[in-house]
């Protein structure tokens, strides 16, 4: 078959090119531009080279935020992934209750992030919040505005409440695609519930689970709105995660250079992690196909 060559077809990708240029490439280049220059206002810029990068790499503040960020993401994953799978395993398979469960599970995902933050901010208040007041009445010393442990717990519980549904829904979709014959064969083979999970369900949902882990890791690594609304990064710097710190630096202190260097490194870390996940996932696929 002869292929028709028509170079004019390149024009067809022009809209996308323009869109991506304005939404991603140009902003990113602006940040790169800021990261290698210094300014004293008046739109006057001076070449600074890698100075800001060196400064940020030496900055204890960034390493602390990164440390908190990693701990936060790991805790989130360690809770949400098993919990999501557990919820998915116990959801009804079909009928009215299955639909109801799906709707209920989707609800937290549909709430705007700052509203989620506001809900929990009020929910946890000791004076008027249902949670905070109840805990105080029970004699538990809980105050997320002063106690950093309480602040961490609040932020984590909030994230679990907000996002476990996503993991559960993905795992549920994976579980639904397992043919009945597998469960029947397992019964015939007298496999225990644990073995059914270990040898049938887990291998079959591995693919979607990897996607769930990737999504949850990325989102939690970039989390901003919810903890910002609830704790504002406090008490002190206790819940100042990377993006909260970044916004403080860029918009609060107007340190454009260091903030730009910071965000580029932040971006590279995320890119690296995505790449690792992508490689692992495609390798999983290859193993399946062979």
């Amino acid at each position: 078959m002869n292929k028709t060559v028509n170079q004019k077809a390149w024009f067809l990708i022009l809209p996308v090119l323009v869109l991506v240029a304005f939404s991603a490439v140009i902003p990113l280049m602006t940040v790169v531009n800021y990261s290698v220059q210094d300014t004293f206002g008046n739109n006057q810029f001076f070449w600074a080279g890698l100075e800001w990068f060196e400064e940020m790499l030496a900055s204890e503040r960034m390493w602390d935020a990164l440390g908190r960020q990693i701990v936060f993401s790991l805790i989130i994953l360690a809770i949400e992934i098993p919990l999501g799978i557990f919820v998915a395993l116990n959801m009804p398979k079909k009928g009215f209750w299955a639909s109801l469960c799906l709707v209920l599970m989707s609800l937290p995902l549909l709430i705007p992030w700052n509203v989620v933050g506001t809900i929990w901010q009020i929910f946890g208040r000791v004076d008027i919040g249902l949670l905070g007041h109840t805990l105080a009445a029970l004699g538990i010393d809980y105050n997320y505005t002063q106690d950093s442990t309480a602040a961490w717990i609040t932020v984590i519980v909030m994230d679990v409440w907000h996002w476990t549904s996503l993991v559960a829904l993905l795992a549920y979709a994976g579980l639904q695609s397992i043919p009945d014959a597998y469960y029947q064969a397992a019964k015939i083979d007298q496999a225990s519930r644990w073995k059914v999970f270990r040898f049938i369900e887990l291998p079959k949902i591995m693919g979607v689970l990897m996607i769930a882990i990737l999504l949850r890791f990325m989102d939690s690594f970039m989390i901003y709105t919810e903890p910002f609304v609830v704790t504002g990064g406090g008490p002190g710097n206790a819940t100042t995660f990377l993006s909260i710190d970044l916004v403080k630096m860029a918009l609060g202190q107007f340190d454009l250079g260091p903030a730009a260097a910071f965000s580029i490194m932040y971006y590279l870390v995320i890119l690296l992690v995505s790449y690792v996940f992508y490689t692992v996932m495609t390798n999983l696929d290859k193993r399946d196909g062979h």
Binding site: P179, A181, Y182, Q184, A185, K187, I188, D189, Q190, A191, S192, K195, F199, I200, P203, K204, R287, D288, G289, H290
Partner: protein, 359 residues
């Protein structure tokens, strides 16, 4: 090993079945003798798999009882029934090796490791997978996966029954033959009760001692291949088994005479006066063509030479009648009469066979 009895069994997938049509499996009574090989034959959707799943306990019947050696097992879970079942599509545990797959049912029942080792080796030899024992089951071909499923079904020696739900659908034709032969020899060796579901009559007739034919949720006949061939109890059996199937003609039957389309023929036996929709059923093997004046006048439409014999398709007043003629015989245009060998003539009333009256 056990005798399996189905007592007034019926099943509906609806919560409150009302009419007979609501039942996927209509009321039936059936005995499966210990150690026999059965084939469950019928078209897709006739209730074969439903029946199988009820026997293995994956499904609990809406009514009736299942007895294993006269012990009521109707509500007993699958594990208590000690049954092996192989499904239509291969079920393997992807993350395990072939060896672990085969050993799985034994390990779950806490068998002795040394025994498992030797038994798995035996089964692997039987399904021809000794070389791949240490490979992961993931990524094997559908053929190989189904062989593993079969192997897992056969690995336990003490099962009450071995159930196969169209297990060879996904297997290559030449491998099909081989595996079926192996299943058969396995049956001779260990004497397990085997129930083999299929919609392929050749498979059913070659595998089984007894064939159970199902039609529309009903068991219409249980018998040896010979019985199914010679005396089909239901017109469906006549039509479904045989190639081509039985010829069926509307007829008026009185005693030992039948009138078909105005032509009277002798039946050789008395059948009384059957009522309802009366049909005459004669297999093509008992039908022959001849010249002359006696018999049913037909026009020959087509002759198909299949090598072993010729199939002659003829038309009798709009009804197709097939004749199997010997390979050597000449078929001339003046052979326009059909006669039946009275030994192979069956009479049906509303699709069910009417037994001949003993004179």
């Amino acid at each position: 090993m056990a005798k399996i009895t189905l007592d007034n069994l019926a099943h509906s997938y609806l919560p409150k079945p009302v009419t007979e049509d609501d039942f996927a499996l209509k009321e039936l009574n059936l005995d499966w003798s210990d150690g026999e090989a059965y084939a469950l034959l019928g078209a897709s959707g006739c209730g074969k798999s439903t029946l199988l799943n009820i026997i293995s306990g994956l499904l609990h019947p809406s009514q009736g009882r299942i007895l294993f050696d006269d012990k009521d097992m109707t509500m007993a879970p699958t594990t208590q029934r000690n049954i092996a079942q192989v499904f239509q599509f291969p079920v393997v545990y992807d993350t395990m090796t072939v060896r672990d797959n085969l050993a799985f049912p034994l390990r779950n029942r806490g068998a002795d490791p040394a025994y498992i080792q030797t038994r798995v080796q035996q089964i692997a030899a039987m399904i021809g997978m000794e070389d791949t024992l240490n490979r992961k089951a993931r990524g094997l071909t559908a053929d190989a996966k189904q062989k593993i499923s079969l192997g897992r079904g056969m690995v336990r020696e003490d099962v009450n029954a071995l159930l196969f739900d169209e297990p060879l659908t996904v297997i290559d034709p030449h491998m099909k033959w081989e595996l079926r032969t192996q299943l058969k020899s396995l049956h001779h060796e260990f004497g397990h009760t085997m129930i083999y579901v299929t919609h392929d009559q050749t498979e059913a007739l070659t595998f089984a001692d007894k064939v159970v034919v199902m039609y529309d949720g009903r068991v219409v006949q249980m018998g040896t291949p010979q019985e199914l061939f010679e005396t089909p109890e239901h017109t469906f059996v006549g039509y479904f088994i045989g190639s081509p199937g039985m010829n069926l003609m509307d007829a008026d039957v009185k005693g030992d005479k039948a009138v078909i389309g105005g032509v009277e023929i002798a039946l050789g036996k008395g059948f009384g006066t059957p009522t309802g929709k009366v049909e005459l059923g004669v297999r093509p093997e008992f039908t022959s063509l001849q010249a002359g004046d006696s018999g049913l006048p037909v026009t020959i439409k087509r002759v198909e030479d299949v090598g072993r014999h010729k199939i002659v398709r003829t038309d009798f007043q709009g009804t197709e009648i097939n004749v199997i003629a010997p390979e050597g015989g000449e078929i001339s245009p003046d052979m326009n009469r059909i006669v039946f060998d009275t030994a192979g003539v069956n009479v049906y009333s509303d699709s069910w066979r009417v037994a001949p009256k003993v004179a």
